[in-house]
Symmetry: C2
Subunit: 283 residues, 2 copies
Amino acid sequence: LAGLTAGIASVQTLWLVNGHRTGLDPSDRGVAYGDGLFETMAALDGRVRYLDYHFERLEDGCRRLAIPPPDAAAVRQEIQSHCPLRGRAVVKLIVTRGPGARGYGPPPSAQPTRILSISEWPARPAAHYTRGIRVRVCDLRLGDAPALAGLKHLSRLEQVLAAKELAEHGDAEQGLVLDTRGHVVGGTSTNVFCVRDGALATPALTRNGVRGVMRRVVIETAEKIGVGAVERDLTLDELHAADELFMTNALIGIWPVAKLGEARFAVGRVTLDLIRRLGCSDA
Amino acid sequence: LAGLTAGIASVQTLWLVNGHRTGLDPSDRGVAYGDGLFETMAALDGRVRYLDYHFERLEDGCRRLAIPPPDAAAVRQEIQSHCPLRGRAVVKLIVTRGPGARGYGPPPSAQPTRILSISEWPARPAAHYTRGIRVRVCDLRLGDAPALAGLKHLSRLEQVLAAKELAEHGDAEQGLVLDTRGHVVGGTSTNVFCVRDGALATPALTRNGVRGVMRRVVIETAEKIGVGAVERDLTLDELHAADELFMTNALIGIWPVAKLGEARFAVGRVTLDLIRRLGCSDA
C-alpha cells in the first residue's frame, strides 16, 4: 500500500469478543467445529482498505453458511473506535455461529459471536515487491470441498499444515498448493495469478480455495485497463510456462514470483503495472 | 451401553479450560483455524468407555498435526474428578494448538489448550436399536482431504453443513455422506458398516472421514468372532445391495439402518449379534 511506511507507534494487540475485552465461551462453535468465517484487513491511518469488499465477502459467506451476519454499521463503528488513527494495523474479524450444544447440527436460532482483533502489521522486505518472492511447491495436496469453495471459513487445518510445511523448509516466502487432481489452488496464504501473452489467469476456485479480496481487486482492475483476466483450472505446467507470476492477498497486496521451485521468473510488465496502479508496495 | 438407563440426576454441563472454569483466549488457534482435535466419550458411573482407544486416537492425531499431546494421566484425573459417579454423561475433550499470533503457520513452541466438557447424555429412543433408523442420502458431497483423513479434527464445517441439511429435512436420524467421487464416507456423525454374505465392510477412510472408536471396536470384535471385516472403498450401490447396514459412534454404539433413502433393510443377524456382544443398547 503506497506510502505505508512503518506506523508511528507499534500496535498493542487488542481482542474484543462481542465488543468486550473478555474470553470466548468455550462452547463456541468456532472452536468446536471451525463453524464460522473471518476477514483479515489492512488498515492505514484508521481506515480499512477495501472494507466494502470484505463486508460483501463476509455477508456472502454468512448467507452460504446460514449464519446471521453481524450488523455492518456496528462493526464499522467498532473498528473505527479501536483502529489506530496513525500508521498501519491489521484488522481481523472472526464471525462464528456462536455458542451451541454438543453436536454438528447448528442450533435453530444461532447467536453469532464476533471477535475483532487489531494488531501490528508486520513489515515486509521491500525486495519482495521489487525483485519478487520464492515459492515452494508444497507436498501437501488440498482436497476438494465444493460446499466451502471460495469461503474464508474457520475450518483451515489443511492451510495450517501447508504453512507448517513451508516454515519447516524455510526456503520460500509462500508455498504453492495443488489439489488432489493436480490443479493449482493458490499460495499458502495468497491467491496466484499467471500472465501469458499479456493476459491474466487465476484458478476458478469452484472446488476449494479462498476468493481473496485482493484477487477480486486485481481481476476488476485488469478488466478496467483492458487486460483479460480469466478464472479457470490451471496446472503447475501452465504456471511454469507463464511469462509472469504473482501472488496476492489483502495485506501484502501483490508479490511478483521470482522463483517457483527451481524455475526463475522475471518481474514482468503486467505485474509491475498492477503494483503501480494498486499501490501495493511496502517499498 | 447395556443397562444405561437414564442417570440418577441430570448432568449440569461443565466446561473447563486448562482445568479452570474460565473463558477461552480469543487468540486460540482452535477458533482461528480449527487447529486441533477432539474426542467425544461415553461415561457410565464415572468411567469412560474405551478411554484407552480415545487417548490412542487423540495422541495419534496430535502426532500427525505436531501438537504436543496433553498429559494423559492429568486428563484422566481431571475426568475422574468431574465425571458424575452415578448415571450417564458425555465427556468431550478438545485439544487445540493453543494461542497464537495471526497467520496459518503454527507457533514454533505451541502451548496447547485443553477444553473438557461434561454434559448430559441425551436419551435415544429404544426403537433406534431394535427397529433401526432412517438414513437420508445427503446432497452435500464431502471433499477429499488426505492430510486430515481419519482424524477427529476441529475443521468440521462440512459436517456442520451435512448435519444442517439433515435437520432441515427432518425425515431421518442420520445422513449418509458421499464424497465427490461418489464413494461412501459415513453418516453425518457416525461410521457406516454393511454386511454381505455374513462379512462386514466399511469405508477405508484414506481420503476423508473420521476413524471412529466404535468403528475400531466393531472391526476388532468382528475379527475375534470370525466375521470378516474389510476396510475399502464402498459405493452407494453396494450399500443398497447389502443384506444388513448399521451405523456406529462412541455414544450411540450401534444403530441398525432400517431405511436408506427409499430402500428398506431388515435388522439382521450380524448386526444384532454385535449389538448384543458390545452391549450397545439404550433399550
